[in-house]
């Protein structure tokens, strides 16, 4: 049986991808960002996940104003890194576990989470930067990746509660897949940041750390956070953190925090990272 073993949360700032691609990870500005991922890079080599369900958002790359799916699951066999206007990142193609992806799609729909099924899309920094952070610069990614794209650009995005419930539905779907697979789920984006208007540059470390604390201490509080609180406390783009709740929802009640990292800034953004292990 397939099983979810681990949840990972991480920011997916595009400038982090550029710093990796341009060999700047040891620069004084970037070193503290990347140092916090060293533990995870070593640890994940031993974990050897077979599949990652990677929850991210598309930033006007594969989806424009013509199609705005709230929850989309990408089901084709493989994907290219997107050209976001300055050429695609030089990272490997992303290979799907398409059978499991289609299985999650059908299971979630029967579970009343009406996923949009997409196939041929290019994947932007929201998905590729987390892979680079955990796996460095390999010739091929060491596992399969199932992309789940969430609309957090056009309001309203899904509620945190709905995201959490989708995570629970994904866990049920994975557990009913009849192949022995070690599956991780990653929630990406955040933490506090605002990329627009005179209030741009907003950062709220106290709120962010409380959010990380409550991943283990009180996830019920997290799922009840309304959109307006993300906006007021964490900036207009902090809303991306609802995607971490899909990850958290998929882990169930019993989890342990293995690792945490928090640093300000990467470009305009507070970088947060957490590794959560399912204990039963």
């Amino acid at each position: 049986m397939a099983r979810i073993t681990v949840g990972i949360g991480t920011s997916h700032v595009p400038a982090i991808g550029a710093a990796i691609d341009l060999g700047k990870t040891k620069d004084p500005y970037w070193k503290p960002v990347f140092d916090g991922y060293e533990w995870t890079k070593t640890w994940i080599e031993n974990e050897k996940p077979d599949v990652i369900v990677l929850v991210y958002n598309d930033h006007a790359t594969a989806f424009d104003m013509d199609i705005i799916p709230t929850f989309a699951i990408a089901c084709s066999d493989s994907f290219k890194p997107a050209d976001e206007g300055w050429g695609p990142r030089k990272v490997p193609d992303i290979h799907n576990h398409a059978d499991l992806a289609w299985h999650i799609a059908q299971s979630c729909i029967l579970d009343e989470f009406d996923m949009t099924i997409v196939n041929n899309i290019d994947l932007d920094h929201g998905l590729t930067v987390p892979l680079s952070l955990m796996f460095g610069q390999p010739e091929e990614w060491p596992c399969k990746v199932i992309p789940i794209a969430v609309n957090v650009v056009t309001y309203p995005p899904p509620s945190g509660n709905r995201c959490y419930g989708l995570g629970e539905a994904i866990a049920r779907a994975v557990e009913s897949f009849d192949e022995d697979l070690n599956v991780q789920i990653w929630g990406t984006g955040g933490m506090s940041h605002q990329l627009q208007g005179p209030r741009a540059g907003l950062i709220n470390p106290e709120w962010d750390q409380k959010f990380l604390d409550n991943m283990t201490a009180n996830p019920a509080l997290l799922r009840a956070i309304p959109h307006i609180e993300y906006l007021r406390e964490t900036g207009s783009e902090g809303i991306e953190m609802v995607m971490w709740l899909i990850m958290r929802g998929a882990l169930g009640d019993n989890i342990k925090e293995l690792h945490r990292h928090y640093h300000v800034p990467a470009s305009n953004t507070a970088v947060g990272h957490i590794v959560l292990e399912k204990t039963s």
Partner: protein, 138 residues
Amino acid sequence: MSELARTNIHEYLAELEDIPGTRVYTTKRARQGYWLNQFAMSLMKAKNREAWKADEAAYLADWPMTQDQRDAVLARDYNLLLDLGGNIYYLAKVFSTDGLSFLQAVSTMTGMSTEDYQDMMINGGRSPKGLRSIKEGT
């Protein structure tokens, strides 16, 4: 825990307008900015970027945008573009074509120099204190 209080859409939308210095990309703005954002999206293609760089005004004339939107694009007035229905991830195609990073472009909306803005970020960013609510002044 799956049952939360039902959201009142009017209260929800009113709250989104109560945040200082922020334009939440609501459905109303999405409708207003549809062509502005789709124009920006067109710059994802190298061929279109060439045509745009060769003659910006002529390129814009082909898009059914308002004249205000065209003028604001030519002026790279990003705060005004937000007011006219632009979304930052779409507008990013314009400033990326100009060779600006997110940090550089975002700083132009704050009334700060890019250097001062970057220093603010390195020193921990902008505090939410006093910037949470227009009405409450918190």
